[in-house]
Symmetry: C2
Subunit: 226 residues, 2 copies
């Protein structure tokens, strides 16, 4: 049981709060523990969300159900992270996806009214929660923005211009594999590789796997358009 509080120290919602403080906050038994085995349904699409849920052990995958039986995997949530923080509040308190246990899973549940009490008792927990939702929104905003570009070339050009600023260099090291970047852009992985290859052929950049050298910054920016 002690282990649980140690696990929570690494959870974004409890960042900056010591294990003993966490123990004190939760000591009034305001929580439940749930166990799931591999393949178990942790929650079903449209289930009502009445409690904050934190994955303590194992990982859970979000899936969209398909009428023909197939499923589309949306994302993985690994311990020690919370589930659906942005759906505990707001108008639609229902799971947007199915949640399935990837392996043996332990989940901590704290009912919504108790979460509000925790907010009052610990300011850090509150700001952590606000940060968690906000980060989610920021991630989605960014993703939507990327999808708003018409062509893959534009997405790449914009991404590189952005990274040039961030890394403050004309040689950029990509932090993600192409597969993940393609996912962020909402395009197929080989299409992304082709995009890079085309920009290289046209003399805008020089590509060596994860290392991108910007040869024509102005040209690149004019491709991105914005």
């Amino acid at each position: 049981m002690e282990k649980m509080f140690d696990l929570l120290v690494d959870c974004p919602l409890f960042r900056g709060i010591s294990s003993t403080e966490i123990e004190q906050l939760l000591k009034n038994n305001v929580y439940q523990l749930k166990h799931y085995r591999k393949g178990d349904l942790v929650a079903v699409h449209d289930d009502e969300i009445t409690a904050l849920q934190i994955v303590l052990m194992g990982s859970v995958k979000g899936e969209m159900p398909d009428l023909s039986g197939r499923v589309i995997k949306i994302e993985d949530i690994e311990a020690p992270r919370p589930l659906a923080v942005a759906f505990l509040f707001g108008q639609q308190n229902r799971f947007p996806v199915d949640l399935v246990a990837n392996d043996e899973v332990k989940i901590l549940r704290i009912a919504k009214p108790d979460v509000l009490l925790l907010f009052q008792q610990n300011k850090r927990f509150l700001t952590n929660y606000l940060n968690a939702i906000s980060n989610r929104t920021q991630f989605l905003t960014r993703k939507l923005f990327f999808l708003s570009f018409r062509t893959i070339r534009e997405k790449i050009a914009f991404y590189l211009a952005e990274q040039m600023k961030l890394q403050n260099s004309s040689v950029i090291i990509l932090s993600q594999p192409q597969r993940e970047m393609a996912e962020l852009f909402g395009v197929a992985r080989p299409s992304l590789a082709r995009g890079f290859a085309e920009l290289e052929d046209e003399g805008f950049i020089e590509v060596d796997r994860r290392e991108i050298k910007i040869l024509n910054k102005e040209g690149l920016i004019s491709i991105a358009g914005r």
Copy 2:
């Protein structure tokens, strides 16, 4: 000045809080008022966000700057609504867009530390704020979900399935012209028309301008996939 508190009663962040309570909460002078004229820049892309800002009068538009001088309008925020609630917390405390006054605009500013104090002083304000961010996230999740469909057929099919529920009928009246719907979907107008025509050829629907009759609901849903 009294008018301000009355205006705030209609702001989602102060919902359920009376004008006099709002006055009490804000009486310690923890706020600033800013005036802008039509066309004034309220905030610039990448400006740091250190305060909660609420539009009290007029409206503000979010725009993405273009290097060639053009701008792309993202959205309008009208009084009495807050600006960028999801960017006051989280990792990226910077405006994602330029904000330009549409007309004469009054904006209320409350510094971030004071916002946190308000959270402690008034539980309703806190839950309102949580709801505001959460609703934003939910909206974006939905929009992203919509854009995540690969083909136009899938978008149309999903849209129609949704409208069937909303209008509770197997005959759907489209409320927008194709041009606007195409914009929402992020596709070209003739491509959208072609999408409808194809679904008609295949016997899923019957199209008569704005009136769509669903002939094969199950088939349509299986096209949408999810």
